[in-house]
């Protein structure tokens, strides 16, 4: 028998497969158990499918607006079956890629459903029967599933979750989206671009409450231009299957009920951890209503058992799952690493894109941080103008030392631009270093320097007030 550390990873999403590869790189003998699909939510019914569909939607919009740029064509139409086919192909290619990577790293993959039977043993139900596996270390990465609130009528046939919304065969004429978080807003962007009339119902006072409020308002305005109606502070009371449509009764902010009819109703009020059937109690793993309790080394209360990603119920993002996975794998293999979310970017694939890292202005205020803001509107950025886009770069800096505390970008390529500012936060950079860094012309990134200059009211390409 091998004297390698035996590591079992439960769940093959971006948390689990990354943890498995990292543990194998460090010399572990790694087994990955996945019950449904490698790549997990992210590759199969999450990040990748949404972005593939959104990319097609973006191209559709660009094609329709081509005349502005001198591109003439007639009869621009969407072939939604083809859009779905393309999504399927991308997903498949990436899932196969993960399969190949696991093989290249000599990770053994078992198709089956795992559950703990004790602190050091799991049982895996496979097609061929039940297998028992002992290991030195376990990494739990079972992810999350869409939450389904107990609202009357929610089982009406028109009610779908995000998975359903990504698998529609046709673009619906109307859709009521319950929940204005990132997923709700991305699906609103997708289908409104493809011609669907959308209403978003959000219980809180703002959509995407973790994003910067000022920029979120700009997103709302852009959605409104596409005909998306947004009601915040509004609560869904019931659904009723009315044949063609579902009728959604909503308690509006004024306390009165209003009924919205839609061909589909998307329930996107959040996700809950997927830990109900994995035998947490058998192994004695502490959790808070299904959210596995971990420290910053991703250790659970049980020595040798780690948990990562959506199933810990902290920040439900793929790159967080992967980062936690690396940390857990390294710790499981005897190294010493900790998870820190301070450089975590949050991205929303609206058009233009919306991305954020560090403190929002709201959070800075709430935490009593002494801050100062620098803003640069992309209407004054040549590259954005060329692309026909606008938006804003906003930097939150400490008042005294001008260190970068947060950055928020609404604009073309925002999800990639945020990388520079995440690195700035990682390195405890101040605006001075961002300013001293030469930014290429003509790029959107120039606006990052301008926003940093604006912190000291010395932007070049806008009047400073």
């Amino acid at each position: 028998m091998s004297d390698k550390t035996k590591v079992v990873v439960i769940g093959g999403g971006p948390g689990g497969y990354v943890a498995a590869i990292r543990a194998a790189q460090l010399g572990g003998e790694v087994t990955l158990v996945e019950k449904q699909y490698l790549g997990g939510t992210c590759l199969n019914v999450g990040c990748i499918p949404t972005k593939s569909l959104l990319h097609s939607a973006e191209l559709f919009e660009e094609a329709k607006e081509g005349a502005k740029y001198g591109i003439v064509s007639s009869d621009v139409k969407i072939d939604f079956a083809k859009v779905q086919e393309r999504k399927q192909a991308v997903t498949k290619q990436l899932v196969n890629g993960v399969k190949g990577l696991l093989a290249a790293n000599k990770v053994k993959v078992i198709s089956g459903e795992a559950a703990f039977t004790s602190k050091d043993t799991i049982e895996v139900k496979t097609e061929k029967g039940t297998e028992t596996i002992k290991a030195d270390k376990f990494i739990i990465a079972t992810g999350s599933i869409p939450a389904k609130p107990p609202i009357p009528g929610i089982d009406s046939k028109q009610c779908i979750d995000s998975t359903g919304a990504l698998e529609l065969k046709e673009v619906p004429k109307t859709m009521i989206i319950v929940g204005g978080g990132v997923i709700g807003v991305e699906i609103a962007t997708l289908y409104s671009t493809l011609g669907c009339k959308i209403v978003i119902i959000e219980m809180l006072n703002e959509i995407m409450p973790m994003m910067d409020g000022e920029l979120t308002k700009m997103v709302r305005a852009k959605l409104a231009k596409k005909g998306v109606e947004i009601f915040t502070g509004a609560k869904v009371m019931s659904f009723k299957d009315a044949g063609e449509n579902v009728e959604v009764t909503v308690e509006m902010p004024d306390g009165k009920n209003q009924v919205f009819a839609g061909e589909k109703a998307l329930i996107s009020i959040g996700r809950r951890t997927n830990t109900a059937t994995i035998g947490l109690e058998k192994a004695g793993i502490a959790n808070d209503r299904g959210r596995i309790t971990v420290n910053n080394k991703m250790e659970t209360n049980v020595p040798g058992i780690y948990a990562i990603g959506d199933c810990v119920g902290q920040i439900m993002l793929a790159h967080i799952a992967s980062t936690m996975g690396e940390v857990a794998a390294e710790n499981a293999m005897g190294h010493n690493n900790v998870f820190d979310s301070k450089t975590n970017p949050s991205c929303v694939y609206t058009k233009p894109e919306f991305a954020s890292v560090g403190l929002t202005e709201e959070a800075a205020k709430a935490q009593g941080v002494d801050y100062i803001v620098g803003k640069f509107p992309l209407a004054a950025n040549g590259r954005s103008m060329i692309m026909g886009e606008d938006g804003m770069v906003k930097i939150i800096a400490g008042k005294k030392y001008k260190e970068i505390l947060g950055a928020h970008i609404l604009g073309p390529r925002a999800t990639d631009l945020i990388g520079e500012l995440a690195l700035a936060i990682a390195l405890e950079a101040t605006i001075d270093e961002v300013i001293a860094t030469i930014h290429a012309h003509p790029t959107v990134a120039e606006s990052i320097k301008e926003a940093a200059l604006a912190v000291e009211k010395r932007a070049i390409h806008i009047p400073n007030r």
Partner: protein, 67 residues
């Protein structure tokens, strides 16, 4: 901050005598009068970050430990 004196070298001083510190750490150190060459860095490769400078200011004992 004063230049490197005959102090025990902390991990953050490279062979060339340069101190690896984050920009924020440098700004705070110069304000608090903390000599960076005496601070042990906790960042990657011993890079000095904000919290190291703050710790060094409160309890200079950290210096001994790092030396």
């Amino acid at each position: 901050a004063p230049k490197a004196e005959a102090q025990p070298k902390a991990a953050s001083v490279t062979e060339g005598g340069r101190v690896k510190a984050s920009p924020l750490a440098k700004k705070i150190a110069s304000e608090l009068g903390v000599d960076l060459s005496t601070v042990a860095g906790s960042g990657p490769n011993g890079r000095i970050v904000q919290k190291d400078v703050l710790a060094a200011e409160v309890k200079p004992a950290v210096v001994e430990k790092a030396a």
